[in-house]
Amino acid sequence: MLLKKSDQLPSPVGRPWLHTLLQNVWVLAALAAMVFFARWLENPDHFNAYYFQIVMMVGITITLAVSLQLINGVSGQFSLGHAGFMALGAYLSAYATKTYGGQPIAQGNGDYFSDPGGVMGYFLALAIALVVAAGPMLLIFLAVRQLRRLSSALPAVGMLLLLAWIAMDVVVASKHQPVPYYCVWTHGWKGCIDLFNALLRQIPNLSTVFGHLSLSARQPLSFAIALLGGGLVAAGSGLIIGIPTLRLRGDYLAIATLGFGQIVQVLIINSEPLGGAVGLTAIATYQSIDEDNLPQRCISPWIFGTALIAFLLIWRLVHSSQGRAMKAVRQDEIAATAVGINTTASKVLAFVVGAFFAGVAGGLYAHLNGALSPDTFSFIYSVELVVIVTLGGLGNLWGALIAAVLVTLLPEVLNNADRLPHMTSQSAIRFAHGLAANRRVVYALVLIAVMIIRARWRDWVHGRWRWTG
């Protein structure tokens, strides 16, 4: 059979990477321009610290929004725990640089983040701890799954055993009011927390093993390790959380991920090494020393670089075969299974990649602000991210990016409406201020309106003014 030349599909024979690069060259250009813009902003002559902070937050929000878009929009799994992943990344990387980061400038050493070996060791130890913690959990999960095929009564028995365990804990704990020893079996939940804290305190000892790896490019390398480590821990916890919960559908998944976010928050609040309810303060903000011995804010390439990498990577992922599998899962999970897609794998992939970038964004946030408070990473922050993603259009990466910029910038612009040029009308300024003060109410209204219009506009355009579906 003869094919005309135009019938043949263009095949990326030869240099697929070049093909990809050329396809995305304008994406690269736009985001690289943003990086240069951010570089320009760093100069204190151009922008004061307040504006700098806002623009950096835009970059972080872009990363978060794009990574959440992968989970919520592209693969259609409704996650409300994004702030939890962000918190994990933020706290763990901040703890790493705080503990192993060398002396701050004020004490004359002049080199932040100067101990990459230590930071690396910390994350290696943390990874070991994660595997140790995850192993039994996954085993239990798999065992339950296997046993369910044998007998349908077993889950109920399991629940009863769990309740008996809790009751036993209560009895034991009431006998020894002050918990004498960290024992998970006899002290249940409280024991878990204590064990977690104890592990965290043990980590410095472990990391001295790795502490003598000295590396040449000290400063940025160690920061990169801290960020990557935070991201990897978030991704790992995403894997552990994702495998059992992603079997759930829609609203159940939303609540389970929300629960994960709450659990992370409670863990942090009750963890003394991580600052507890007060928060972690005096985190070294990422700075370098220029010729005049002045600290320079140079976190912006990191932030916008991460945004760029996140965007490009997720962009490529969405347009790969894996991305198409995710979209198929979003459309109809049963149909996707029927055409041979491993739905669990593609959902977990989306979840893990999203969690990874959320963790990295959290690390950047920690080193931008220099202080962390557990209140920041509440359920409300997750909801705000969901609002951004939804307003941007579910499944649309560009939409998420634009919505992230708008939602971060608009309140600040409206708050400072009186300083805008040509803004003279008093009532307009008052209106802008009111809008900024009520911004969450406005988000909520816009969200509801967008959802309704999205559902009904086809009817309305054709002149059928129906309200009910």
Binding site: G76, F78, F141, V144, P155, A156, G158, M159, L162, I166, V170, A173, S174, Q177, P178, V179, W189, K190, I193, P244, T245, L248, G250, D251, Y252, A254, I255, A256, L258, G259, F260, Q262, I263, V266, L267, I269, N270, I334, F379, V383, V386, V387, T390, A437, N438, R440, V441, Y443, A444, L445, L447, I448, M451, I452, R454, A455, R456, W467, T468, G469
Partner: protein, 306 residues
């Protein structure tokens, strides 16, 4: 014990109504704003002699006033629930459930942040008035057959039981309840049977919101405060309780609520610093149940047909 109060509803609703906790908040708030007016009106009006004979109203807080406040806030919440359903959920009935879920989060945000604004309730804690006579002596303990419980807990438990019996009666023994159960099986089949599905769903929302109002008033009395974010955690926990008991089953929701409430109280009581962990424990509970038995303790397993 108070857990029973806030677990009433999800059994009937198919949709995960995030805004439910906020209806609950509206209930407490409206009771807060109404109580002065109603109690004054109630003490000026001359109630039927039999009511006087039963309740012996003292000066500032009366059983009659309590009942009137309860009814009024139920009315308000019923209207609010109806409006939420009509404006936000009805246009999305034929959409995927995720869409309704996002809208529900939007509605919930609207109430939480709207409620915090100065033109609404304001962000501060409101001191909730003692509506039930003799509540000042809330430490009073009743001893029933050797079991000692606080008087206020007894009142809450009693009110909840009355509400539950009422709900059970409505759902199982009225035509409306029959229609409601039919709709909860299948929308389209029910509408083929001549049931006005929209009306029934509105009715479900009104009923659920009224129960939320009762819970709101009771919790307000129990904790002596009302604030705009009070619905957030409560709504989530009510959902957990409903999942625990199996969504779609009213006795399951009650049992789930009791179980969750008891667990929380025990964690609070027996563990050092236990009160900090109660929220996390609730969610661990939820995730465990979802992993082990997704249909809940009492729920039927829904078979998905292609």
């Amino acid at each position: 014990m108070i857990a029973v109060g806030y677990t009433l509803v999800y059994g009937v609703l198919r949709l995960i109504n995030f805004a439910h906790g906020d209806v609950f908040m509206v209930g407490a708030m409206s009771a807060y704003y109404l109580q002065n007016r109603i109690i004054r009106a109630a003490s000026h009006a001359t109630p039927p002699a039999i009511v006087l004979w039963i309740f012996h109203p003292p000066a500032d807080s009366t059983w009659l006033g309590f009942l009137l406040v309860l009814l009024a806030s139920m009315l308000i919440c019923g209207v609010v629930g109806f409006l939420i359903e009509f404006i936000a959920y009805r246009p999305l009935r034929d959409q995927p459930r995720i869409i309704s879920l996002i809208t529900a989060i939007g509605v919930s945000m609207l109430f939480e942040y709207g409620g915090q604004q100065p033109w609404a309730f304001g962000p501060d804690f409101k001191a909730f008035p003692p509506l039930i006579p003799g509540i000042e002596k809330a430490r009073d303990l009743l001893s029933i057959g050797g079991v000692v419980i606080g008087k206020i807990d007894a009142i809450i438990f009693g009110t909840t039981m009355v509400a539950m019996v009422g709900l059970w009666f409505v759902v199982q023994h009225t035509r409306l309840g029959l229609a409601l159960r039919a709709v909860s099986f299948r929308f389209d089949t029910a509408s083929l049977m001549g049931i006005n599905v929209n009306r029934i769903i509105s009715f479900t929302f009104v009923l659920g919101s009224m129960l939320a109002a009762i819970a709101g008033v009771l919790v307000g009395i129990h904790s002596n405060k009302a604030y705009p974010l009070m619905g957030l955690m409560m709504g989530l926990k009510a959902f957990i309780a409903a999942v625990l008991g199996g969504i779609g089953s009213i006795p399951g929701a009650v049992a789930g609520g009791m179980l969750l409430g008891l667990t929380e109280v025990m964690v609070k009581g027996y563990f050092p610093h236990g009160s900090q962990y109660t929220d996390a424990v609730a969610f661990v509970f939820l995730i465990t149940v979802l992993m082990v038995k997704p249909s809940g303790l009492f729920g039927r397993h829904a078979i998905e047909k292609v």
